[in-house]
């Protein structure tokens, strides 16, 4: 796609947004607890990030992304930024200004030091959450709005429903936002009947903390081909199978250990055969994938996650796991 025609627009809009950022920063500095200027700053930086990414100016996009994260952390925690953070953000706006002017289609490296400062500030500001106004919604350190894809009442009713079929879905490798893709699949499945027992739990899917595979139960009499075709049509879905998940080896939602990969350093199985002296051997996966069935700890972990999803009232048999 020929992006050169957008270069002038990119420059003009970025300049406009960055000018506004300076104004917003000054306003915010005068009234550190006010939220309006923070929101304006966040939106401006967010827009610059999107435009820069589209134009292929990765350095600008990365810097904007780091600034956006800090602003988002401040926005949600309602913490008044301190003078150091204001100075940091003024520097960021200046640096972005220079980067935007210099962006000419050739790859510009991101300002790694400035990004590191922003990342550190974003983490530090979350620690001050306890001093901030209590926000009953956010007990999640990322403080992003989350809500269950399926209303809880539906989940509870489905628990007692007989004969809900197992559905295993794999989202395509390389799909953008696999968690959001999974949410689309679940929403489409809801049209067929009650959905329950989502694994990994919804919150994990929404944070993209899974390997693309997820599972749920669907209460529906519709033919499998129809359900499969509808869910595949969501897009970027690699496969839909009506099978129980296979337990064993690794945790659900993460890839099982691949014994063909080289073992971690210090592992007793690495070439040479011995852990390095004085070094604790790294957790080694070789041999684990051949075990049959989950161990006691894995059963407990799975049971906890199943309970978290609001499903079965009965724990799997704990004895001799």
């Amino acid at each position: 796609m020929d992006l050169s025609k957008y270069a002038a627009l990119f420059l003009a809009e970025s300049r406009e947004h960055l000018n506004a950022c300076n104004g917003s920063l000054l306003e915010w500095e005068r009234a550190p607890t006010s939220l309006e200027p923070v929101d304006r700053l966040f939106r401006a930086i967010h827009t610059i990030k999107g435009m820069a990414a589209t134009m292929g100016h990765a350095g600008v996009a990365q810097l904007a992304h780091a600034a956006e994260n800090l602003l988002d952390a401040i926005r949600h925690n309602r913490v008044s930024a301190d003078p150091a953070i204001f100075q940091l953000l003024f520097r960021v706006v200046d640096t972005l200004g220079g980067a935007v002017e210099a962006a000419d289609g050739t790859e510009q490296a991101a300002d790694a030091d400035l990004i590191a400062e922003l990342d550190a500030a974003a983490l530090a500001s979350q620690d001050t959450r306890t001093r901030a106004e209590a926000n009953p919604e956010s007990d999640d350190s990322q403080a992003l709005p989350t809500s269950p894809a399926i209303p809880e009442s539906k989940l509870r009713r489905a628990t007692d429903a007989p004969r809900s079929r197992p559905v295993q879905v794999v989202i395509s490798r390389g799909a953008a936002m696999r968690g959001a893709r999974a949410a689309l699949v679940l929403r489409r499945a809801e049209a067929f009947g009650a959905v329950s027992g989502v694994q990994p739990p919804l919150a994990q899917l929404e944070r993209d903390e899974f390997d693309g595979r997820f599972f749920f139960r669907l209460q529906s009499e519709r033919p499998e081909q129809e359900i499969e075709a509808t869910l595949m049509a969501v897009g970027e879905v690699q496969s839909v199978k009506f099978e129980e998940p296979a337990l064993g080896g690794g945790r659900w939602g993460t890839s099982p250990p691949d014994p063909s990969r080289s073992p971690p350093a210090g592992c007793p199985h690495e070439a040479g055969g011995r852990a390095r002296r004085g070094q604790e051997p790294a957790r080694c996966a070789i041999g684990r994938s051949r075990r049959r069935g989950p161990d006691r700890a894995e059963w407990k972990d799975f049971a906890t996650r199943v309970l978290d999803a609001g499903r079965s009232a009965r724990l799997p048999d704990d004895a001799g796991g």
Partner: protein, 120 residues
């Protein structure tokens, strides 16, 4: 007759790009909105076949606009346009009624695939 589109994004840059991608593929861009409020108003008056909706906008964000539009027009076909790193918001948009999503930076082919899915 070409299918009609309402393009909603607070950046002229993004609206221009999306409009170009869609009109080159044979769609008719019948309106643009730069805020959630405008998006809701223009949907009501234009009743487009498709809406592309940015998530982050002033005066009512994209998610609330989706909610408002779907409340009054449950048949609305809305495609969310999101920057990277906003997955939780995309999920919220899906729960509010968006039919699909694309992530910036856009690849025209992916945008068109998503549009086809939404319109199917």
């Amino acid at each position: 007759m070409n299918q009609t589109v309402l393009v909603c994004d607070d950046a002229i840059f993004m609206r221009t790009m999306i409009s170009d991608i869609l009109s080159q593929a044979g769609f008719e861009v019948v309106g643009e909105a730069e805020s959630g409020l405008q998006a809701v108003e223009k949907y009501r008056s234009l009743k487009p076949d498709l809406v592309t909706m940015d998530i982050v906008m002033p005066d009512m964000g994209g998610i609330e606009a989706v909610r408002e539009i779907c409340k009054n027009h449950p048949e609305a076909k809305i495609l969310m346009c999101s920057a990277m790193g906003q997955q939780a918001l995309v999920v919220e948009a899906i729960q509010a009624g968006a039919k699909d999503f694309v992530v910036k930076p856009f690849q025209p082919s992916r945008v068109l695939e998503a549009v086809q899915r939404v319109l199917a």
